[in-house]
């Protein structure tokens, strides 16, 4: 923070003062130019995602910490250069060659009370696959050393043509930000490239390029509705945990809190079974000590 930015005579409770409506949700923001937030070097927003709402992938110029106030869903972080480790089995269609399978990076579930940590520059998306609206509170730490730009929080969307939620303040106040950003008509990080560049870079036709640039997209905002539901590759264990499993987890947490000696033992049944199996094998090997040829 600049000099004297944190000399407060009085602090105030703050409410979000701007709201951007999307097709399947809303993003409310607190003015990042507020003295208190500037002093702390952070920007705050509250995102509400309706059922089947997909928050388009974006990255920010500083790390984010997201708290799930309500709801459940799935999310993904795309770590640059990492492998796509979730793979669909290859399908052989009749009379045709194998159909290209999908593969992507890890997808995770979230639920109420979760904190999601998103590093600087790492694309993030989230999706609400339940009835209850998801409410997520996001903090962007703009004075973090990872941010080498100024204190203005920036969301770089990979797709769509939505406006920048935080840059609207710069535009309203006609400050430095507006001059730097050169207006705010809405777009994504790919929409500023020439069609020829994108055709060549993605090796796709002009129609797809128009979609990449968000030109064929009249859906409102950065949260879009997936009417038929989003399909992703996800192992059964990643399904939202309910009932007994949740209780077990709470019991385990309780045990850990109590300092139960059993905490050193594996928690999961599968692990216990594996250990059991392993100990059987050990016993089988150790028992006939007198037969040297059996030892291994």
């Amino acid at each position: 923070p600049q000099q004297n930015e944190c000399q407060f005579q009085r602090l105030n409770a703050l409410e979000p003062d701007n709201s951007v409506k999307s097709e399947a949700g809303t993003i409310e923001t607190w003015n990042p130019n507020n003295d208190q937030l500037r002093c702390a070097g952070v920007a705050l927003s509250r995102c509400t995602i309706q059922r089947n709402g997909l928050r388009r992938p974006f990255y920010t110029n500083a790390p984010q910490e997201i708290y799930i106030q309500q709801g459940r869903g799935i999310f993904g972080l795309i770590f640059p250069g990492c492998r796509e480790t979730y793979e669909e089995p290859q399908e052989q269609e009749q009379g045709q060659g194998p159909r290209p399978q999908d593969r992507h990076q890890k997808v995770e579930h979230f639920r109420e009370g979760d904190i999601i940590a998103v590093p600087t520059g790492v694309p993030f998306w989230m999706y609400n696959n339940e009835q209850t609206p998801v409410i997520a509170i996001t903090l962007i730490d703009t004075t973090n050393l990872d941010n080498q730009l100024d204190q203005i929080p920036r969301r770089f969307y990979l797709s769509g043509n939505q406006e920048q939620e935080f840059l609207q303040y710069q535009q309203k106040e006609g400050g430095q930000g507006q001059q730097q950003e050169g207006g705010n008509e809405g777009g994504n990080v790919l929409s500023g490239f020439n069609d020829e560049f994108l055709e060549e870079a993605f090796s796709v036709d002009r129609e797809i390029v128009r979609n990449i640039k968000g030109k064929n997209d009249d859906r409102e905002g950065s949260i879009v509705e997936v009417k038929e539901g989003l399909k992703v590759i996800s192992p059964p264990t990643l399904r939202p945990r309910q009932g007994r499993e949740e209780e077990e987890e709470e019991e385990e947490e309780e045990e850990e809190r109590r300092g139960d000696r059993r905490r050193h033992r594996p928690h999961h049944h599968e692990e216990e079974e594996e250990e059991e199996e392993w100990s059987h094998q050990v016993r089988r090997v150790r028992r006939p000590h007198h037969h040297r040829e059996d030892r291994n």
Partner: protein, 185 residues
């Protein structure tokens, strides 16, 4: 003691044309990055460097610097640069010639198309272990998204989304289209 480590510290490392590149395509060009992992003094400086040479009409796919600003100086030849900000505005769209410098801010997307066979540059990066994230090609962020997320985020059908994810088989440097391909020795 300090003198044993500091006084004999390695202070020079070559990343020019002659060294073995980190990424190489005989039809597109080469890239070499120098970080504090291979040149430890860079950790003190918090800086890194990259040397690249791109053949005529080949392209460096759109990418962004995840954790650093990049100050790029053209050593030879010329190339067409496009730099895009978070609002989708092209903040630079033009030719960069020998001796010129372009600052590419952290997280801004950039793409480069070489206009010369001998185009080469050095980029100074303000982080000792800089990371870049490609937006197109084999290691791109879009390829790592689930197919349905790509389809709905970009408003494409599943087949188009599959093309967008998979059509480009190259990592960073894309050779020129077949019609413009140079003879490879």
């Amino acid at each position: 003691g300090l003198e044993e480590t500091l006084c004999t510290l390695k202070l020079r490392h070559n990343i020019g044309q002659s060294t073995s590149p980190d990424a190489y395509n005989p039809q597109a060009g080469r890239l070499k990055t120098l970080t504090s992992l291979d040149f430890p003094i860079l950790r003190w400086l918090g800086l890194a460097a990259e040397h690249g040479s791109i053949y005529k009409n080949a392209m460096f796919v759109p990418y962004y610097n995840v954790n650093a600003n990049s100050i790029l100086y053209v050593l030879n030849g010329s190339a067409w640069f496009q730099v895009v900000d978070c609002s989708g505005n092209a903040v630079f769209n033009g030719e960069l010639n020998e001796g010129q410098v372009l600052t590419i801010p952290q997280n801004y997307a950039v793409a480069i198309k070489s206009l010369d066979d001998n185009f080469s540059y050095v980029a100074f990066k303000t982080n000792d272990i800089p990371q870049i994230a490609a937006l197109a090609g084999l290691t791109s962020s879009i390829r790592a998204l689930p197919l349905d997320v790509v389809a709905h985020a970009f408003n494409l059908d599943r087949d188009q989304a599959r093309q967008l994810k998979n059509n480009n088989p190259y990592k960073f440097l894309v050779p020129p289209p077949q019609s413009q391909l140079r003879a490879v020795a």
